[in-house]
Amino acid sequence: MPAAPRERMNPWRLEWLRMTRSPRGFVLALVYLFFGFTAPLLARYLTQLAKLGSSGVQIVAPPPKAVDGIVNFVSQSSQTGLLVLVVVVAGGLSYDARRGLATFYRTWAPGPFALIWPRFVAGTAVAAVAYLAGTAAAWLETRLVLGPLPAGRMLVGAGYELVFLAFAVAVVAATATVGRSTLATIGTAVVVLLVVLPLAGAVHVVVRWLPTNLVRSPAGLLTGATVTGYLPAVAVSLAATAGLLVLATVRARNREPAS
């Protein structure tokens, strides 16, 4: 028998290996880093690029400000990053989609929460690391090409965004107990996060309470919004995250795996 020492397994190591041995974590980080490095450059040189692409048309635009780098990063990364995040975490959370896999996990683990919780935490952690890396890249690029940014507001905005990312992972956890396949989980989560909630944002009364309001908070805080203005959305997001995890646990306990 091979005598080489091997690291012992537990649910947390399982999630670490899921993110490092498959391209999941790498792809998510790459998406945020890409937008972090390119969005401020695009904000700075958008006018010049537009001039290169047009012949004889005079383009007049105000000179870019430092805040435009982050605004551009947020607008470009929010949808793509969220989409990739949903795909990345859905693979782990929809363990019921494969009967052979579900049989082992369900008969080994003491209950569904023991399966959902590590996957939720790992998904949120990877999203946080990827998002913070992208934000750091955007901050660095913005500082280099456009000018300095208020660090305090940047950090608060990033913190709010992390609350939203945790909420998004919880949405995937809940939708994984609705769909019978990973694709169905992804589809349902995308509809909820990128269609239903943004549409609900059209209702003026509820917009400040919606978790999706936090997506633009890193840019909003740099363009005049107050820190307290996002607290209702933070509270709703945290409560909804807890509620969705409870819902996912209850639904996973009550349903049968795919046949």
Binding site: M1, P2, A4, R6, R8, M9, N10, P11, L14, L17, R18, R21, S22, P23, F26, V27, L30, L33, F34, F37, T38, P40, L41, R44, Y45, Q48, R98, R99, G100, L101, A102, T103, F104, R106, T107, W108, A109, P110, A137, L140, E141, L144, V145, E256, P257
Partner: protein, 409 residues
Amino acid sequence: MARTDVGRLLPALLPLALLTLALVGYCLVDLVRRPRAPYLPKWAWVPLILVVTPWGAVVYLVLSRTQRATTPAPAPGRPAPAAPSSAPTSPAPAPAPAPVAARSGAVVVRTDGLTRDYGGGAGLFDIDLRVPHGCVYGLVGPNGAGKTTLLSILTGLRRADRGTVHIGASRNRIAVCPDVPGFEPWLTAFEVVDLARHYVAPDLAADAVLRTLYTVGLDEQADRRVGGFSRGMTQRLGLAAALIGDPRVLLLDEPTSALDPAGRAEILDLVAAMRGRRTVVFSSHILADVQRVADQVGVLRAGRLSYQGATGALIDEYLDPRWVLRLNSPVADVVRALRAQPWTRRAEALDGQRIRVDADTVAHGEQGIPEVLAACHARLISCEPLAADLEAAFLALTATEVRHAGSPA
């Protein structure tokens, strides 16, 4: 572009350029080192990675990582698990009576009136299962008979519409292996079994994991990722993951369906060796496998339990047992002696060496033939049962049911 702009732009572009360069460099080094590139020839990837930067490199990385998780990695210098001395090419006689533990009569797995109706006649209906302690219980039946549903209800993965299930073991001492086990393809065999250990027997040492892998013939593959395993190896791994907690009750769904004859023999020997130590319920459509290891059998047909009891008794009940004796001495005296026995239905010499004997029951034949041979001082070369197997009994049983169902009331 103004000079100051260029001065600002260069340091701004530097991280992006470094990131892209690192990505491209990593991909090229990886491409050179790996024996085969994903989907395309290696030379075709070089311009893709270099020209379509960075997307060519990203696509290469994603595809190569996916492939790494699913392609079998050879284990040089490691011998394949030893094949057993004999393969189960023909069904063995039904096992001898179970050891003391199995004969004690204590029922470990019991269901009463278990029903799961899928509609349209599909499902399970009024199943009263009785699995004695320490026995190997074979669950047989045609496709769609309800074997998997019954095992799923026993494991708690499905719910019954009505009826009760009682399993005389704590939750972590009940283990399951489905017909098509599934694992994360990027885990190694050791990690899969060690993860099972974490959940069901956290105090076990790492050696126990390796011993379990050794038991199922996968110790040499302990560090291979399971995404590259064949279906047979995956089935063995599923069995290892089920065995790591030393379960009292082991539920196996078609445990040999994906194995070659040598692999089947190994796993069946393993299951047979568990008799008396743990209670095994295993479903199979390979009746020879069930006959080989199961001392108790349940026959499911259209969701109902048609028969439940000793495997030998089923064979005995539904067949006219026949044997062919091959002797190394004159056969005439033996034929006469056999015909004189009250249990003999028919005895005739097939040629100068062989005799065909039909008995009224398997038990009478098994006891009586050796006595007659001994009395005649015959020199026995072989005694082979003819058609006295579970498959014939199963066909006879189901044919009887069809006749009963078709006969007018």
